[in-house]
Symmetry: D2
């Protein structure tokens, strides 16, 4: 294991925020749970059978519907659906990265919008650190004393954070990045760096696999994660002019959606990534004046509820009034209320095992510039046409 932080990790020097006297005894106990790995779905016929025959109603029925909408409609070759995947909630810490890797590798998702945290924690796997199965019922004051970090029931040493941070800062320095770019661009470069330095890591890293598969990965809240924290450090302490330009993200996603023959999404959780995906359609009609007609397919796994009124729980129906979802396709939308850690492996087993379980990859990461240029041309055409109409109107009114 490489060590970007030899100071603390190798010499057992107390971490900056730890009480000096903390023993290491419990530390080992906390971390005695089985290592979490990236489980890869194989397309199990028995799981497909369960979903078709045993998941008949309520949320089990919804999972079945989601599987069939995805496998039988969204993946239908003649539909050529551009498929976005949004990720919120701690999925890579729970070992779900293997599902995402499989979907990208098979061309089943064309672009991804993720919270920064999922990408940051994906780096631990790429860098070969170990996260452990644990319990959500531990005493966090003891964990704190022992230098153990807890994500619900996932446990790992605080040094994993420090080492991962060190890698990110090292990459920033080496990359010589010094301007404003999109998150897709940044994550692609990060993925390439991982592939170079840790050959074979695309088997256990979403970022690395995305770079191989040409899948752009966006983050709606670029400052809101340890990756963003380290970029901010780089600006303040090293005088770098590298930054994320959120405008580029908005326009690239908008351009991807605009170019889609049909558009569909798989939304894990909700949160800011959900809205960042869905707002592409309103951006087109409301801001650029280009009516696109809304999403054609909409699949969400969530435990949030419509009655709490937040976007995470908002239904496909509500999205219709905003022009986010095509009003004619509500039958092709489905929300299953279930923890993604349960739903995603089941869903992926079904999808991977389906006749349409592999598509030619769109490799959109390399087409971003061309697509944005096309969006700009279309928006300029509309603007010119509107201006002409306005002149006509003015003339008529005289």
């Amino acid at each position: 294991m490489l060590s970007y932080f030899p100071h603390a990790a190798q010499k057992e020097i107390p971490l900056p925020y730890r009480a000096p006297g903390a023993t290491q005894k419990t530390h080992d106990t906390f971390l005695s749970g089985k290592a979490i790995h990236y489980y890869r779905p194989k397309g199990s016929p028995e799981i497909r059978h369960l979903i078709d025959e045993g998941f008949q109603a309520f949320n089990a029925g919804r999972i079945g519907e989601a599987c069939r909408i995805f496998a039988d409609k969204m993946l239908l070759p003649e539909h050529d659906t551009t498929i976005g995947l949004t990720i919120a909630g701690a999925l890579t810490p729970a070992g779900l990265g293997g599902c995402i890797i499989e979907l990208m590798d098979r061309g089943l998702v064309d672009f991804v919008i993720s919270t920064g945290a999922n990408l940051y924690h994906d780096l631990h796997y790429a860098l070969n650190f170990t996260l452990h199965r644990g319990s959500p019922f531990l005493d966090d004051r003891e964990l704190y004393q022992e230098g153990v970090i807890r994500i619900y029931d996932v446990l790992f040493p605080a040094t994993v954070l420090l080492e991962t941070d060190a890698y990110v800062r090292d990459f920033l320095t080496r990359s010589r990045l010094n301007e404003a770019i999109s998150t897709a661009d940044f994550h692609y470069r990060l993925g390439r760096d991982l592939l170079e330095r840790f050959p074979g890591c695309e088997e256990h890293s979403v970022l690395a696999r995305a770079a191989v598969a040409g899948v752009p990965i966006y983050t709606s809240s670029p400052g809101d994660s340890s990756i963003g924290m380290n970029i901010a450090y780089h600006e303040l302490m090293n005088g770098s002019r590298f930054m994320i330009d959120p405008n580029k993200d908005v326009n690239e996603i908008c351009a991807i959606v605009q170019a889609g023959e049909k558009n569909g999404c798989v939304i894990l959780g909700g949160g800011s990534p959900k809205n960042f995906y869905l707002q592409a359609q309103p951006t087109l009609w409301e801001v650029y004046g280009i009516p696109k007609g809304g999403n054609d397919y909409f699949i969400q796994f969530t435990t949030d509820q419509v009655v709490w009124g937040g976007l995470s729980g908002a239904t496909p129906a509500e999205a219709v009034s905003w022009g986010k979802v095509n009003p004619g396709v509500l039958p092709d939308t489905v929300v299953a209320y279930v923890d993604s850690t349960i739903a995603l492996p089941l869903f992926c087993e079904y999808v991977v095992g389906s006749p349409n379980g592999r598509r030619t990859r769109k490799e959109l990461v390399h087409k971003r510039e061309a697509l944005v240029a096309a969006l700009k041309r279309e928006a300029e055409r509309v603007r010119a046409s509107d201006a002409a109409h306005a002149t006509d109107d003015a003339r008529t009114e005289v």
Copy 2:
């Protein structure tokens, strides 16, 4: 009412995404509900009595605890707590902006982290558009046909979006902004513009009041709202070089927290704003090497649940293992599980009516540069000291 979008609004030309034949009859019916206004809490003694005497257990008890922790501890003059407010969920559409205005005006919150959507919808009030009480059970296909937008049970014409967008784009052009700035800087300038063009609007606009009160307002997902969409348009179509620099946001918040005598927060909902606030402490110790010790107070109103494993539902205890919350203060943390639309007005009535219900405002919006400079100095001091130690270590090892 000013109109930045005379084309569609005045001439009844069908909006780009509407069917031409849609009648206006139902439109009026949908919008016949009472206008939503910004309710201002006054410190009702009867509500204070209910909270102290009638809210004895379960989540009612938690609301009571939150009120007393805030009023009796966080606001205690000798604690001089730096208080952050984070906002997720559709609060300004529901008329909760009045509570936030009151808190800012009285110096009871020092900085705000909000989703972009809440700020965008706040603009409707500033621009004097009307949102209406409605129902969550309407047919969204009909709403779509009628050009009515629905946020759960809040209804308003789609033209409100178009007019508000037009104002934002007009402001961007007039402002001549052409570089990368923080969201606090941007929102402050937007607030000043509102105050100039719509005198008195600080009574019904969070953005305008924040500009008056010197409260910096941040957004963790700068591209993820109609404001971000319009900034992206400005870059693509007008060739502007104006953008949000997320690094500046990360460092400013970090610097504010670093400078706090004590730190505390009120978290409405959760989501990305919650993490953006909480990550300031890990940024300090994990990235800058400055141990700060975690938050001293933590109040959250949410309907998310810890067992779903997302950050929105994560408890103060879990935050301890990350160094986000001071392990010694768990008694001063509270999570009440209740819709913010219910909790916030009750909470504000209690707090406004308390003996500590007004503080001298910190006006942090004007101190951002100085605080970031102080953060940089401290981080450089730590870096130099670490380097010295490393040299010592190296020497010792020889």
Copy 3:
């Protein structure tokens, strides 16, 4: 304080399930929280103002709607609505009994269906035992050692259970009850006994107040509480033939609903009491052949969700297909998603302060027999008429 259990309580003999060596030191600490009392709503104008003006949307809006449907429609004298209140969740432990007392005293609810637990814990107040405000985050193994019982964040000594049980068994013996009766009958007799032995306890006991106000109280799961446990003991150990006859409960509730000019309900929580109320309408049409047309008003405060598919979360709309709710009245139905400990005091303040905040009491507890007789007559009339038709049909078919 009377003691039905002098053995354990007065002599500090270890309770049967406690480790003998457990000290009493922590015991006092656990029970140091403020005593919980029955808060009585007074009709606060300031709270009414908040609900009308500040609760404008989302679940706050729903609370407002519930208040107005109840105060302005259900209580309208000309509607003479028969109003059922159902109670699930630990409301009497949380001090909500005062709200229920107030509603019964003012004639604002005509009958009640409650879980047995709420009635059992109401006895603690009647017997003058003290429950304390506490915390949900205690170590239950310590509580167990210390003989402290926890209901979420409400704490009291285990002796309170033993003493209350002793009172129930003493009452059963004294009452000489030796046959099968309805729960309404049983609870009425229990209430009369409380009034005789603890004069004035109707101010702090739902059971006692119900006996004064003539409000019948039903329990859908008669064996499922400590009251039911003690009745079962009485049968097994004392050879008593006293039992609850669930048939009588079904028929009495059915008869009350059948006699209602209009019918409406306030449902706290959901659970078995909710269904026990709602099934009265299907019992009428499906079993007795008497079409009644469904409920006219439906108010529910719950935190359960429709998407989990249980009855507690089922909407008024779903109840329409069962004939439980009149299909024409969906506008007069409302579900607010909020903890009852928050909603009920707010709701009661509004209702008590409304112009219709007092009605003549129906005192249905004394009319049960007459109403059941009327139900039987009507059902026999329908059966005779059906038989006549069947004979006609048979004849025609010949």
Copy 4:
């Protein structure tokens, strides 16, 4: 299909609560979904692999823990655990009856506590009526007009209710039951009747299979379902003296738990059945004075939450303070937050495929009397011993 209700079903006479003019056209459309059947788990190795290797954290991890606690500990032959299964939520309508049949047939659950609704809807399958997969988003006013009943997304004609009711009433008449019995006794007789009249129906009826396997089935709310409604009709209209005696249920369950070598439970949902199971331990120590020590194993699948404070969401830890759960076994308790329609089939596939996937059946339905007699003897022994001590104390005090 037999018809107990020829009048309405065969002659298309409008049902009592239907508008006469309702057409049948939509009726067929609503009922065009696939028939729901009782899916039988087979012990799929692929599903077992997914659960062990892919379900690593969060609620997926909890499902894995539940599977392993059940298969590896509760079913261990030397533990001879007496296992109770409690059922709330609409599981038989969703086709989950096949899982329960499999568990009973294999001796993996020893007794069952269910809501009445699940047993009533189980009768539809026994009587060979068809329930259909549907949608939760239908217009319930249309369903009502068309005579279609909706349970969330499960649809069937209202005649199914009427026919099933007719069978229940016919059984009541034929059975000549005329006294008070326990629900286990009643459900056993009902199951025997089904087996006689519909040979082979134990493959698609929980009630019939339970009669074959000797598994007693209890209902905590005996009046609260269509079965209870029809028994009530039988008393009122036919003068029957048949009734459920809840005391017998309380004592039988108590006696079963008392006799258990070890005790454990699988709780689906929560609600009244959960408490009815858990209260057996407090009944023993609190009412009968027999310390049993609490449950040894506790598995729950639920979507309710601890923070709402109801019993359904109460944790194993909270149950410790009540003596419901053995304080030493918290590691052998687990709550997975997930819809039972998803969790139960997965859980059953795992358990059925495990090495301990079949046990000798305890056939407790035939041992109820003996167990209650044993309980009575033990309670009398304790009472006598207590009385002796009291006399001693009295003497000492003199």
